[in-house]
Symmetry: C2
């Protein structure tokens, strides 16, 4: 068991001393952070024990009009800004990975605490960033990186520090929840729901990062790392997006009492030898319609945490947007500034558990398999035998009418089984001559 690397204590600046802040990026979030820092300057000073002083704002385009922002604060030289002596804390709200990585590392190495909202950066380079923060004995905060103002990072780091997290599952991407919710409530196709989400600003012009599950995967990596005190990176997350979910899948789910959501799921896996590992995954998931996550509408986020002593906890709120993200950034900024004034450090990443990433084939799931089969005697019995032979046991097998006379529609729900076994049987099913088509295979949870 590796102990945390924090060692010497870092004394504070003392009560009343101003805390210098540099903001990197003036998009929606940065603009809101700067505005609220100004509007609530007195409140923040009282909460911190000294005033926040905005020392500079790094932007890519100095020519752009930015009403209300003093021009002398703007610079396009982020690197020089973060190394300035009067800057104590750097707020990174640029986005991207490589460029902010360089700047954030430079800031940490220069002894500045960092607050970032950048999930992709944290999910890709957490080790390197945490090491730099530990070496400099400064804070690295990233509450805004997961579900904006829903304080799940703080909850896992602090509130559940005396508990054993068993499982985390949640809706952590607003765009895909908006699309799936629209498909569920209106019967729209995926393409129509995406078009509507784009028109309303819930989806970006290039929606790939959201609809392919990449954004949710970054968040899953961060949640798994914090919850299980280990390191899970973006590349460790098994990720499937929502682009293949059809209106027909949604309707079939609804009829069976389920709702389809894109879930991020983080859990510990114990293999046959009793060895523990960790799994984080993102995929469309059928959940019972009475499950609290099923009723999360529009672009809201919700995170469900199961832990040994606390039981089930759920956190719900706006998981994206300028103001909610700014709320999380400013909460971190006040925390980092308090530490600058009073001394002490926030709990950093503590990956002592050092769990391996589970082989995805070892992960257990339940499957919902919807297929068209030949409408002849004996098919059901043959299928049931097939499943019995494969170590995947059936929970329900339901036959439905199909329009074409010679076909029957079969909906199978399996019991929990290893992904490897499930993948294998789906493959075998697709090769049977009496299976005309596998309409959908969706995992089931909750």
């Amino acid at each position: 068991m590796t102990m945390t690397q924090q060692s010497t204590f870092k004394p504070g600046k003392g009560i009343g001393q101003p805390v210098g802040v540099a903001v990197l990026g003036m998009g929606t979030v940065g603009t809101e952070v700067v505005r609220l820092m100004d509007e609530y300057a007195e409140e923040f000073a009282a909460r911190i024990g000294g005033p926040l002083e905005l020392k500079g704002i790094a932007v890519s385009d100095l020519e752009k009009q930015r009403p209300g922002v003093p021009a002398e604060l703007l610079t396009d030289d982020a690197m020089s800004l973060v190394e300035r002596e009067d800057v104590d804390i750097v707020v990174e709200v640029i986005g991207g990975i490589d460029y902010p990585r360089r700047i954030v590392l430079a800031a940490l190495n220069a002894g500045k605490s960092v607050v970032t909202a950048n999930k992709a950066l944290v999910a890709a380079h957490a080790d390197e960033l945490a090491e730099a923060a530990d070496a400099a004995q400064v804070d690295l905060y990233f509450e805004a990186a997961v579900a904006a103002a829903i304080p799940v990072v703080g909850m896992l780091r602090r509130s559940l520090a005396g508990d054993q997290v068993q499982r985390i599952s949640g809706i952590v991407n607003g765009t895909t929840n908006y699309i799936l919710d629209a498909m569920t409530s209106t019967g729209a196709t995926y393409d129509d729901a995406l078009a509507e989400a784009t028109r309303l600003g819930y989806a970006e012009a290039d929606p790939t990062a959201d609809v392919e599950g990449h954004d949710a995967a970054s968040k899953a990596a961060i949640l798994a790392s914090l919850g299980f005190h280990t390191r899970v990176k973006f590349d460790d997350v098994h990720t499937e997006g929502i682009t293949k979910v059809t209106a027909d899948d949604i309707e079939a789910a609804r009829k069976a009492g389920y709702t389809i959501k894109l879930l991020a799921i983080c859990e510990k896996v114990t293999n046959d030898k009793g060895e523990e590992s960790v799994n984080a995954r993102v995929h469309p998931t059928l959940i019972p319609s009475e499950h609290p996550l099923a009723s999360v509408k529009e672009s809201y986020n919700a995170i469900y945490v199961d832990s040994e002593a606390a039981g089930s906890l759920m956190f719900y709120g706006n998981g994206a947007g300028g103001a909610p993200t700014a709320s999380a950034v400013l909460g971190d900024l006040v925390g980092a500034a308090r530490n600058k004034v009073h001394g002490g450090r926030a709990p950093g990443d503590n990956t002592y558990a050092n769990l391996p990433i589970a082989e995805f084939g070892e992960v257990t799931s339940r499957y919902h398999i919807d297929m068209s089969v030949a409408d002849r005697a004996g098919v059901l019995a043959e299928l049931a035998t097939k499943f019995a032979d494969s170590d995947v046991s059936l929970r329900t097998l339901r036959q439905e009418e199909e329009e074409r006379h010679s076909r029957a529609r079969l909906v199978i729900v399996t019991h929990s089984a290893k992904e490897s076994k499930l993948a294998q049987i789906v493959d075998e099913l697709s090769q049977l001559d009496y299976v005309h088509e596998i309409n959908s295979v969706i995992r089931l949870d909750g």
Copy 2:
């Protein structure tokens, strides 16, 4: 604006140093805390940076059998235990007010950090406790005092430290929620539902503190203090319990699309002169059945926080019980221990806003008034005029059949108006000769 009083930095014990812990009280929570400290000793050491060492447990009855607890750790002299030099942190899970107040103050004065689950103590004596903690530069944690493992204290203290909380409303008492939920789902009377709750262990033999709203009032005081950075005490909370809620009220609410919950509500009030004050109150409340709080079942708790930038956040989970409370206590213990090892202090109570308590008459509510009136022409018009004259405007006025021929049942929902005006018109209504009976007056929210 008073600044926070934290001044000199308190250096830590250093990595690897053990942290001495005294536990006061071995009821359900204390027993679970001691058990989990032992079971997860390695995990906690890794999270803290040094091992927790249980130095002693104060109990009132030394004779009682306590399987698994080393007898040499037990003492009935809590005062000497908390002052022992090898004790760094005191965990208070006794309950009551006067006795734990003396012990906790002695512990703080002796330089020990304190973790308490005692809502009544914190709601009654927060000022005195916070002063002692500040003077000694130690931590005073009480996450478990509100809604057990739902981390609302940490959320208000830290996660929302960069935001402006506007309103907090929540179900913070499991016993009363169990009773009201049972009445709602089965149509049971209050007495029957209470009897069932007692039988199942959801209500204590003397349920007064729960059903009269006192327990919720302590929590409302704590939430309002943290949310608005001011001091609200138990005595400042306007408190009404659920003992007068009838099966008829519940049924009438259901028909109208509402659910009755015992809510704790904390909000800022601005009077006619523009002066701000704070109100905390606990009372049975009609909320729309589609509101997230309406679907909180059995003894679960949920807290809804509205803040300027984050928008609405909801937190849901087990709000009581040994294990969930132990989870919160242990989270605080790990936090306090981290500070002992690494230096620094958690954010303490910061009451800089120093808001007065609102006159209850100035608080605005909406009322749902259910009454029996004479079934004759003109009554509705007279009532409508009465309301118009009183500055309380009507939102809806609904007439229902009553069994007795000469009577009509009227259900009125008002717009938001001052409590003083609402109380006055209810008083006037009761004196009208054509008003036979006022069946219920319940506030409406959400």
